[in-house]
Structure formats: C-alpha cells, structure tokens
C-alpha cells in the first residue's frame, strides 16, 4: 500500500509539473553574442537562438548597456537592405528561431561607450505565452569581434 502511494504521488507530481510546463512559455536561449564596436560607434546588434516549448512570442529585451534596446528584422528587398523594428518574434512550439545576421537581431542604440570584444553584456529577455503570461530570462552575452562573419567561406551557393 505504501509503495502504491509513493508511486502514485511521484506520478502525480510528475504529471502536475509536466502540465504546468505546458501552460506557460518555456524558452531556452543559446549561443547569444553581441557584435563589438569601434570607439564612437553608436549602435550594434545582438544575436542568439531561441526555442520555446510552447507557442510563445519574444516581445522585448533590455540591458544595462543602454536604455535603447529594440528587436529588429532585416529584410532584403531586391538589392536594398531594410531594417525595421518588430513588436514581437513568433516562437512556434519546439521550433528553433535564430536571431542572426540576415534576419532578426536585437538592436542596441545610443551606445555611450565602446563595446569591446571579450566583454559580456547582460540582457533581460521577455517572452509571452499563448495565455498572455510573461516570462523573463536573464542572459549574459559575450562580445565577439566586429569582423565576425555570418557564415564560413565555404558555404557559398
């Protein structure tokens, strides 16, 4: 009987915690990095990979580095580059969404100081689940060289 109760309790706890995990956004952030700047450069971008366990949206970011942090999407229209602030980035359940050169990025504007390779930039990222519940994730993104290429040389097509 005791064994049964123990097992039942364990199973119940497991079921309950699994249930609550699906009820709110559960986002993982990987490979975050910030592009370094040269002195007096006023803006730069941050890139990362996001994945949510359930349908969610990436709605905002903030950082002690600057009060002006926006989420942007870069789009090529023919040969013309256009960058626009977006209100959110959709994160469909289980899908890896990349913020990378050529697509979305976090824009850091009105920088007051140089962002140096080797530094770390803290971010607070805000996500919203389908139920409207918000979740914040704190990360520290390393600063990589300004010259970091988007893809390696041999990836031509």
């Amino acid at each position: 009987m005791k064994q049964f109760i123990r097992t039942f309790t364990a199973a119940a706890v497991l079921a309950l915690s699994a249930g609550s995990a699906f009820a709110q956004a559960n986002v993982s952030v990987k490979d975050a990095w910030v592009r370094a700047t040269v002195p007096q450069q006023k803006a730069t971008g941050a890139f990362m990979q996001l994945q949510a366990a359930s349908d969610s949206k990436f709605v905002s970011a903030s950082s002690p580095l600057t009060p002006t942090v926006e989420v942007h999407e870069m789009a090529m229209q023919g040969d013309v580059m256009r960058m626009r602030q977006v209100p959110a980035v959709e994160l469909p359940a289980g899908k890896q969404v990349e913020l990378k050169p050529g697509g979305y990025h976090i824009m850091l504007l009105n920088l007051k100081a140089q962002v140096k390779e080797g530094d770390t930039v803290p971010f607070t990222l805000v996500f919203e689940g389908k139920d409207g519940k918000r979740e914040t994730v704190d990360i520290k993104a390393p600063v990589k060289a300004l010259t970091t290429a988007a893809k390696p040389a041999h990836a031509g097509h």
Partner: protein, 204 residues
C-alpha cells in the same frame, strides 16, 4: 600494335594538343570564349564612372587613385549591425583568399550616413576589418550625387528615438583600368567574389 606516344607522329600531336590546352588555360578566356562571372556583368555601363569623396584624413579621392588595382566599393553606415559588417568581413575574406594578389585589391566603404559617421569612426571601422580598407565620405549633397551616379538608394528611417538607413547592398567591382565591370550581390560568398576579382586581375 601499341601506337601510344612512343610513335613520333602521335607524340607530336600529343604535345601540340597539350600546348594548346595549356595556352587556353593560361590566357583564360581570350581564346574566343567570353568570361563568365559570378556577379552580374555590367561592362560598358554608362553609370558608376567615378566619384570624388574624402577619405578619413580629409584628402579628396577619385577612382584614378586606385589605378592598377581591382576596386570593390560598398555603400553602408557604421550603425548597421548586420549587412555592413558582413559585407566588410566578406571583403576581408576575399583579400585573404586572393593570397599575394590581395595587394592588388582595394576595398572602399562609402558612408550613407554623413550625420553620424565621422571620419574617426569610419577610419576605425574599416581598419577593424583590414588596415588597407578605405572609408570615403561626403556631405549630404556630394553623397546624393555619388549615390545617383552609382544607382544606390539610401533612405533614413526613424526607429525609436534614432534612425536606421535602408540602403542598396550591392558591391561594385572596377577593373584595373578603372572601368566598372561587375555588380555583386550581398547573397554571394567570399569565394564567389574572390573568383571574380581574380579574373579581373588577370584579364588585363
């Protein structure tokens, strides 16, 4: 029964064939065929003929300053977090891929953001990618003329309390005689760019 190349007549034919092939390879495409580039061939274009812009030291520069080099010219701004660093990083990779020919490549970065891109920032920016890369700038009027000459669009777009700039992201290539030859796309790779630059360097 074994003719092979031990037969004098066959050997002569073989040598002649070999020589023809070798000559063809060395002279590239001038054996009657046309050169094919990865970029769009705009040889003979009636635009993008020249520019008159300042370098970060304040000196006025024109295309003639870079005679005998292949010039890659790109229009951008330093507050561009994505396309401009990618384009310049690719140009640096092109220079590396060219090996010793890299000394005959000149990369130019023209600022479309005269309000924010000071000579100091521009100089530091291009130097970060390669010390030989040169930034060029002009005042609003000179920029407008230059962009028009190169069919480059650029437009300030407000974002938050700042602004970004939509801009044409092609790279133009001039040959060693200062003639506009190619329009290379931002979607193409360093390897594709380098192959074209090599062809331009060796076809003079």
């Amino acid at each position: 029964m074994n003719q092979g190349i031990s037969n004098p007549a066959s050997r002569r034919a073989f040598v002649l064939a070999g020589a023809t092939i070798a000559l063809g390879l060395v002279s590239g495409c001038s054996l009657g065929g046309s050169v094919s580039f990865n970029g769009t061939d705009i040889t003979g274009a009636d635009f993008g003929r020249d520019f008159r812009l300042k370098d970060p030291s304040g000196q006025e520069r024109t295309l003639a300053d870079f005679k005998d080099k292949v010039v890659l010219i790109f229009f951008g701004f330093t507050q561009c977090p994505d396309v401009c660093p990618t384009a310049l990083a690719r140009a640096a990779e092109v220079k590396t891929l060219l090996g010793p020919d890299g000394d005959r490549l000149q990369v130019l970065f023209v600022s479309v953001d005269p309000e924010r891109d000071t000579p100091e920032v521009l100089n530091a920016y291009t130097a970060a990618f390669d010390p030989t890369f040169l930034a060029l700038y002009g005042d609003a009027d000179r920029l407008a003329e230059t962009a028009k000459e190169f069919k480059v669009i650029y437009q300030k777009v407000p974002t938050g309390d700042s602004y970004t700039i939509d801009h044409t992201s092609v790279t133009y290539a001039f040959d060693t005689e200062g003639k506009l030859r190619l329009k290379l796309s931002h979607s193409q790779s360093a390897i594709e760019y380098a192959a074209d630059v090599r062809k331009l360097l060796h076809s003079a």
